[in-house]
């Protein structure tokens, strides 16, 4: 590791063993780099050379609204996911190993179930005539069905559910690495449970929250199926808009430009994640 760090910006030297990586690099080059370059090219050449596609995207109220929606949904989903995932992760971190592995199995199992199936299951639960509304109305708690679907609420519920494993798994790793004795020491020094959480547990778990949170945020930005099925038309996100431009309007230049903007934002966030997690680790790692 230290050798790598020293090399820094030194001229690129082909490390030994790169030959084995060659197939993977070719694969990435052929199926990722080339299409992305083609995408970029199309966004500035279709229908005519120039930046008019970007100008159209950035200068239009509708598209601005879709961009705003995309970031709003991703942000809300990330925050709610962190709030739900933290207690679960903490529980998994401190419970006996055998029980924890069973619960892990359940969480991972949900990731293996088809995404569309899980989203449809939420439709059945959330709609006006769905299980939740019928139960609440049957119990006399509400008179009118709650609007749980075709809006931001529906998108948030469906997406948080799908994103939870991606938040819980890194968080458990971080929480397990925290010495429980630090909390006991805090209590012995007179800290209330809340203070111990706020001043000991939370700061120590920040790298996990940052890693999981950024992953969830980045994944949410490009989400398609769940917002399309559980959201309303006023919650349209970028991925759905791109699909519309490509598939039904056949406006490939505009779609490419939108896709490229999304890609750049995602890459920037990913770079931020690498930096953040790297820095935290090097400063906080004992």
């Amino acid at each position: 590791m230290s050798v790598e760090a020293k090399q820094g910006i030194a001229p690129l030297r082909i490390p030994a063993g790169l030959g084995g990586l060659l197939p993977a690099l070719i694969l990435i080059g052929l199926f990722f780099v080339v299409p992305v370059l083609a995408l970029l090219l199309r966004s500035v050449t279709d229908p005519a050379p120039g930046l008019q596609n970007y100008a159209a995207l950035l200068g239009d109220v509708t598209y601005a609204r879709v961009f705003f929606n995309t970031f709003l949904v991703a942000l809300v989903v990330t925050i709610v996911t962190v709030l739900v995932a933290f207690p679960v992760a903490w529980m998994l971190a401190i419970m006996p190993a055998t029980l924890a592995s069973v619960l892990f199995g359940i969480i991972i199992l949900s990731m293996w179930t088809n995404l569309l199936t899980r989203t449809y299951a939420w439709m059945v639960l959330l709609q006006r005539t769905g299980v939740i509304n019928r139960t609440l109305m049957g119990a006399g708690i509400i008179d009118q069905p709650l609007p749980l679907i075709n809006n931001l609420t529906g998108v948030t519920i469906g997406m948080v559910y799908i994103m939870l494993p991606f938040m819980i798994l890194p968080l458990v790793g971080t929480l397990r690495a925290i010495d429980p004795m630090t909390l006991r020491a805090a209590a012995l020094c007179g800290a209330s449970p809340l203070a111990a959480f706020r001043r000991i547990l939370l700061p120590l778990s920040l790298p996990g929250i940052a890693a999981g949170g950024l992953m969830v945020f980045v994944m949410s930005l490009g989400y398609f199926v769940t917002p399309a099925l559980l959201g309303g038309t006023s919650n349209m996100m970028l991925a759905e808009m791109i699909a519309q431009m490509i598939q039904s309007l056949l406006n490939w230049g505009l779609g490419s430009a939108a896709a490229f903007i999304l890609l750049v934002v995602t890459m920037a966030l990913y770079a931020l994640q690498l930096r953040l997690v790297g820095v935290r680790r090097s400063t906080g790692g004992a």
Partner: protein
Amino acid sequence: MKLIFAGILAGLMASTAAKADEMVFTSWGGTTQEAQTKSWAEPFTASSGIKVLQDGPTDYGKLKAMVDAKNVTWDVVDVEMDFAIKAAKDGLLEPIDFAVVPKADLDPRFSNENAVGSFYYSFVLAWNKGAVSGEPAGWADMFDTKKFPGKRTFYKWSAPGVIEIALLADGVPADKLYPLDLDRAFKKLDTIKSDIVWWAGGAESQQLIASGEAAFGQLWNGRVFALQKDGADVGVSWNQNLTAADVLVVPKGAKNKDAAMKFLATATSPTGQAKFAEASGYAPINTKAKAEMPADVVKGLPDAHVESQINLDMNYWAEHRDEIAKRWYAWQAK
């Protein structure tokens, strides 16, 4: 490693391209494509020996990509008629070989140089009898939230239909619909926007109505037909039913053009059309087909409701597709 690589590449290149005695038919999946397979593809294979591979769903982006890349793996594609008119203008379609496909009995409303009718359908007003008290009489009632409370469902995509419904409900006479007054239509739609649930596909429209999630809506008549056949308590009004059509096209540079033309001849034949109509509830585009169908099936077709029928103007839509779409999605996103 090299071997694996070569294998992957070979697999990719083979894709779905059909061999000489095969062709690929692409449609929208679900009950419609099943009926097309049974009514057209199977008899065609039996008589010609040409195997018909099924693919789907239809994707206009994919079609354009294939033609642009000159690697067309679809031979016959079921598309909406307004798209077909536009695609022909953009040079994406082969002309139909009417020496192979008999033209005389085809309904002229749904065929042109580059497309023959697949089937035609009507948008009708359907409702869940348990969720609606009384009987909605026409499109205007879908905009009357006092008399008919509850969610209403409309087709989500920018396509012929909803704009016209709004204008008719607002009192525009049927013969004055075109050119479409978009401002007026969106203003009318604004009045019920918060009560609209959008359906993106046929199965979704059925689920919404059957469950009562939406009290009523604008549905394809074939989907209502299927619901009623399954015993769902669903009412239907044919008042001002709006016709539109799917057409069959051959993408430019299709590899099995000859087989494709022969397939079109079978699909548009009186027998092919009669069988498909019987299975789907959609109307035949061959005027001789009705003679081959049972009387009770004919009664349920859009053909039986021509007196109050309005033809959506596919040429108008083909011409203004992009500008309407832009306004449509902007309005939806608001």
